[in-house]
């Protein structure tokens, strides 16, 4: 179990902001931090991994204290067992794929894990390539594999898939889930993509202006449990079109555009670009704003 109690004054582009967080993450869970840019998500991850020092507060992980401002405990990032996948991947340009992974080996660690990870991420053929020659999805897989070399208990993913195209994103979401289960990790993800969050996470914390304003399971969180539906998908509204007395709403779900009928009253509440949930109960499609 990870307990975070963090206070820190952050100076961002919009002036100063007081981060004041209190969260508990169960061991083995896949947790998402969700919220607008600048809400304090990345700072939270940086404080957990020891890259940023909180002004005051406490961090305990599985009964061990990593940070405690009252008794002056502050473990260095080197001493915390955290695998960190950065938004820009942070692959070492002077090393090839294999060397990037090997660098992360701990003293006296058996290097069979390198082969296992390369194989699992389907990187064997790319192992002698330099990072600059890889595509975004390949770099992401290298970064993730590299974070796993030291067998961390906690995996931190800071918007790992935001720069990738949809097809690659879906593939890597699967991969993330497999990794999370296979290595029995506690995974903390920062993401804006609701589909991704629903698909991956056990629980979600919404952070706004440095505070947790809402938390729950992903399904509770986005209201998916309110409808008992035969099918349901989340997507984005592309077009709202009037046809006689009804409205036709085009929603992008995955790579497909789905057209859903809606009555004028419902349609009036929807705007292009809204994230919506499309569900069906028998013959009656429901479209609902998230």
């Amino acid at each position: 179990m990870i307990q975070l109690n963090l206070h820190k004054t952050l100076s961002s582009t919009g002036g100063k902001m007081a981060l004041d967080l209190d969260l508990t993450i169960e061991k083995g869970h896949f947790v998402t931090l969700f919220g607008e840019s600048g809400a304090g998500k990345t700072s939270t991850l940086r404080m957990l991994s020891g890259l940023l020092k909180p002004d005051s507060g406490m961090i305990t992980v599985g009964g061990t204290t990593w940070f405690d401002s009252r008794s002056n405990i502050d473990l260095k990032p080197q001493q915390r067992k955290v695998g960190y996948v950065f938004q820009d991947y942070a692959l070492f340009p002077n090393m090839n794929v294999r060397q990037n992974l090997e660098y992360a080996l701990q003293k006296n660690q058996d290097n069979s894990i390198i082969r296992e990870l390369l194989e699992f991420a389907e990187l064997e053929e790319l192992q002698h390539r330099k990072p600059e020659t890889l595509s975004g999805g390949q770099k992401q897989r290298v970064a993730l594999s590299r974070a796993l070399v030291q067998r961390p208990e906690i995996l931190i993913l800071d918007e790992p898939l935001s720069a990738l195209d949809l097809k690659m994103r879906i593939k890597l979401q699967e991969y993330l889930l497999q990794v999370h289960k296979k290595y029995k990790l506690t995974t903390i993800l920062v993401s804006h993509d609701i589909g991704e969050i629903v698909k991956l996470s056990d629980s979600v914390f919404e952070i706004q202006n440095g505070r947790v304003i809402k938390n729950g399971t992903a399904a509770d969180f986005f209201g998916l449990n309110k409808t008992s539906a035969k099918f349901r998908f989340s997507g984005e509204i592309l077009k709202i079109q009037r046809e006689d007395v009804i409205y036709i709403i085009s929603v992008l779900i995955g790579n497909d555009i789905i057209r859903v009928v809606s009555d004028p009253k419902e349609a009036a509440l929807l705007r292009i670009g809204d994230q919506v949930l499309v569900a069906s109960k028998a013959f009656n499609p429901i479209i609902q704003k998230l």
Binding site: G50, L51, Y84, F86, D88, F92, P93
Partner: protein, 223 residues
């Protein structure tokens, strides 16, 4: 022609550059990452030789190292080091005089690397030293090369500091730039021209190699 001044010049430049390389990396690394309020002070001190007349620097070093003064006599009595009018003194003076030419390119190189590279290495349990050696320095090779070459060329070209602190002792402190001055004073233009031409050519070739390397010319060529 007497080759001694040229040999002395390049010996001085090689030793100075080697010492500078070793001491500038920690300085540049500290300057590129610190938030300390002393940073501007140290940055200023490192950069002073860029703007200060070399004679000013030479004058103060002459005063400081003179056995007639406290520091100089301490060096002389306790360590047996005599820094004025000696080759050792030239090395010390050159190191100080060329410091910005080594520190600044390395500092700029380190600052240009994304901070996540360093952070990623820390989260893998690697020390600051390992990170510097295995990750940061290998990724700023062009900056290192620039630092090395600029310091080398700058040391070859120094005159004022050397004259103040080293004087003009053949085989000990008479470097090429001073030899040229000497020959001109003696109206021996042919010898002055030989020295000058060699310095001119060598400096040109060195700088050209740097620009070609950093511009990726050789890489394109070899691919």
């Amino acid at each position: 022609m007497d080759w001694q001044p040229l040999v002395l010049t390049f010996k001085l430049a090689v030793i100075t550059t080697a010492i500078l390389f070793v001491i500038s990396i920690p300085i540049a690394s500290w300057l590129s990452s610190t938030k300390s309020k002393f940073r501007p002070v140290l940055e200023t001190l490192v950069s002073m030789p860029l703007v200060l007349p070399p004679t000013v620097l030479g004058f103060y070093m002459l005063v400081a190292f003179s056995p007639a003064n406290a520091f100089g006599s301490w060096l002389n009595d306790w360590l047996g080091i005599k820094l004025i009018f000696s080759f050792g003194g030239l090395v010390v003076a050159s190191v100080i005089y060329s410091l910005p030419f080594m520190v600044q390119p390395i500092q700029a190189g380190l600052s240009s690397l994304p901070s996540t590279l360093k952070e990623a290495s820390y989260t893998m349990g690697k020390s600051k030293f390992t990170t510097l050696l295995k990750i940061l320095l290998p990724n700023i090779k062009p900056s290192l090369l620039t630092g090395i070459v600029l310091s080398f060329a700058h040391t070859v070209g120094e005159f004022g500091v050397v004259l103040m602190i080293g004087g003009n002792m053949p085989g000990k402190t008479k470097v090429a730039s001073i030899a040229i001055y000497d020959e001109v004073e003696a109206l021996n233009y042919a010898a002055a021209n030989s020295y000058s031409l060699i310095l001119f050519t060598v400096t040109f070739v060195i700088l050209l190699l740097v620009y070609l390397t950093n511009g990726g010319y050789f890489k394109r060529f070899s691919q």
